[in-house]
């Protein structure tokens, strides 16, 4: 039976002035820090008309930045999805020693400054780096090239999927997996038929967050990119370059693309949540019929 909505009872509600103050404060905060900058980006982007806006986006350097950003995301997001699922599975479904330590290490990329992370890869793969002799021998370029961008982005975005899934998987326990194995399913089959469907929406949400960060990452990528226009500048780096040239209309035009990505992320997330609510509601309706 659903629990009655107690927030409507006058005995539980806060007095009117306090409610007004809290709601107004929240709206003001959201408006000032989220809505206003978004509007500002769009207004600035279109300040010199649609033609300038379009030109800033189809210009070769901008197009190359778009493709590069999509390319980096296309490599890092699948890798971090697989890594995140595997890690969450290992931590949440296996009561092994040291799992708390691993769970803490997962968060490391969040606690390290992205710039430091970028520097780390320069120290490993750069001119004076550890792997330089071997890389030179095989003519592989990591720093100031695509692999470096991928490595830096991988590091920075690695926690998103795992962090989303670990609490979810821990709350679900491993009884369903045990049941599947007792019924004769292999580990692989159990994962695909039982574990994965149960974490589907959490996984989708984690991937969305991971993708948003992969495309929007600035600090780590900035260190390893080398800022070669048309070659190693991702979208955020391209925005910075345009901004530094006082080309505000173009900078904001390209930035509006990233803002669009954020909006798309929000829409997909809302759709995912709506979908879950629909399923729940359908389940409740069916139950009420009987």
């Amino acid at each position: 039976m659903p629990i009655a909505d107690t927030s409507r009872l006058p005995s539980i509600r806060e007095p009117r002035p306090i409610r007004f103050l809290l709601v107004a404060g929240t709206l003001l905060y959201l408006g000032a820090f989220i809505f206003l900058p978004l509007v500002q980006v769009l207004v600035m982007a279109l300040s010199k008309g649609w033609k300038v806006y379009a030109a800033a986006i189809v210009e070769p350097d901008a197009l190359s930045a778009i493709w590069l950003t999509l390319g980096v995301a296309a490599v890092t997001v699948p890798l971090n999805t697989v890594f995140g699922v595997a890690l969450a599975w290992a931590i949440a479904k296996n009561p092994c020693r040291g799992r708390r330590l691993i769970a803490t290490l997962v968060d490391l990329p969040f606690s390290v400054s992205p710039v430091i992370a970028g520097l780390l890869f320069v120290l490993l793969f750069g001119r004076q780096g550890w792997f330089q002799p071997w890389l030179e021998q095989h003519d592989i370029h990591v720093i100031f090239a695509f692999p470096g961008l991928v490595l830096a982005t991988l590091f920075v975005t690695s926690p998103f999927v795992a962090r989303e899934l670990i609490p979810l998987m821990e709350s679900q326990g491993h009884e369903e997996e045990d049941a599947a194995r007792l019924l004769g399913a292999s580990g692989w089959r159990t994962f695909w038929s039982v574990t994965l469907p149960n974490i589907k929406w959490g996984l989708i949400y984690g991937v969305i967050l991971c993708n948003a960060r992969a495309m929007g990452e600035f600090g780590a990528v900035s260190v390893v990119s080398g800022h070669i226009r048309g070659r190693t500048n991702t979208l955020p780096l391209h925005v910075e370059a345009l901004f530094n040239e006082y080309n505000f209309a173009a900078a904001n035009a390209v930035a509006s693309l990233l803002a669009c990505l954020a909006l798309v992320t929000l829409v997909v997330r809302a759709a995912a949540e709506w979908r879950v609510r629909q399923q729940r509601a359908a389940a409740e309706r069916n139950r009420d019929e009987h």
Partner: protein, 332 residues
């Protein structure tokens, strides 16, 4: 012999859960593993299923050593206390799962799978719920689906972990009577864990009583109830009074079941206890009298048949004489 457990011990860190357990379950019997929480009964069940590994000892099912065999090859049916149904699959798909995951060579054709699932849905009387999801079912319905799912692969051994534990009293009684009636037709050897002595007595052919990782007694419900081998079992199976003793008998516990207690108006002498009536509670066919002896804090209980109670008509506060028909004496 369907299940043979030999010298099985297991500990978690310094806590020993199972101490040298030996158990035989006969083919086709319905056996209850009874004990207080933390006595190791669930661990023993999980060891037999292969969900836990014993530190020492062996498990044999149908004469084959299963100790080191992986869970999926043991072919035991297992029913979890909280059902563990696959939440994203319909009732039909839940029951069909065990058949669908078989290797192509052993997998029955789709028509056969449908037929078998339908038959099981009939058996659990839930055919009208085939297309529903687990979260649309009541607890009793879920548990029946879990049972059907475990039976779908036609296991010869069925293990049930507190199968009725999460259900309300009425559904629990219904479901365990249903299981009792159906068990003979199923042709499966079953071992179920419970902490409810009434459930064990009502359902099982034989009862295994466990305490602190050891098996204390194995026997039919009547044997275990009538001749408990220890004070622990006597106390665990049904109500019992710790009988105060007039004669000094150090190192002994004297236990009297409430229904073995006779109440008299006149002092019959030898062995009778003067008591004060504290409460009279009619409970179905019996009337429970709560009483106290001078100098004792704990209440004693006597269960009288309704007729006897009516004839005696005890009044709260009056003094009567309690005489045990049967005293069980154990070393303390």
């Amino acid at each position: 012999m369907s299940i043979e457990v030999r010298n099985v011990s297991k500990s978690y860190g310094r806590f020993q859960v199972l101490r040298d357990v030996n158990l035989d379950v006969n083919t086709g019997e319905l056996m209850a593993l009874l004990g207080p929480s933390g006595c190791g009964k669930t661990t023993l069940l999980r060891v037999i299923a292969g969900l836990e590994t014993p530190d020492t000892g062996t498990i044999r099912t149908h004469g084959e050593d299963a100790t080191s065999r992986p869970v999926r090859e043991r072919k035991v049916g297992f029913v979890f206390q909280h059902y563990a149904l696959f939440r994203h699959m319909t009732v039909f798909e839940n029951i069909a799962f065990g058949l669908r995951v078989r290797a192509r060579a052993d997998r029955p054709p789709e028509t056969e799978i449908t037929k078998r699932v339908r038959a099981l849905l009939d058996l659990i009387q839930l055919d009208w719920l085939a297309a529903h999801y687990p979260d649309q079912l009541s607890g009793g319905q879920r548990q029946r689906v879990a049972l059907a799912r475990a039976l779908a692969t036609e296991p010869r051994v069925l293990l049930l972990d507190e199968p009725f534990g999460a259900l309300d009293a009425r559904v629990r009684t219904e479901l365990r009577r249903w299981l009792r009636r159906r068990h003979a037709d199923l042709g499966v050897t079953s071992l179920f864990v419970t902490h409810d002595q009434e459930e064990a007595i009502e359902v099982a052919d034989r009862i295994v009583v466990m305490n602190a990782g050891r098996i204390e007694q194995i026997g039919s419900p009547a044997e275990v109830y009538e001749n408990p081998s220890s004070a622990f079992i006597c106390r665990f199976l049904g109500h019992v009074n710790l009988w105060p003793d007039a004669v000094d008998a150090p190192g002994q516990v004297r236990l009297v079941r409430p229904h073995d207690c006779e109440l008299l108006r006149a002092d019959p002498g030898m062995g009778a206890l003067a008591i004060t009536v504290k409460a009279v509670r009619p409970a179905g066919p019996l009337v429970r009298i709560e009483m106290q002896t001078p100098g004792q804090v704990d209440f004693l209980e006597a269960d009288l048949p309704r007729e006897t109670a009516d004839r005696l008509n005890p009044v709260v506060g009056e003094t009567l004489y309690a005489r045990p028909r049967r005293i069980r004496v154990y070393p303390s």
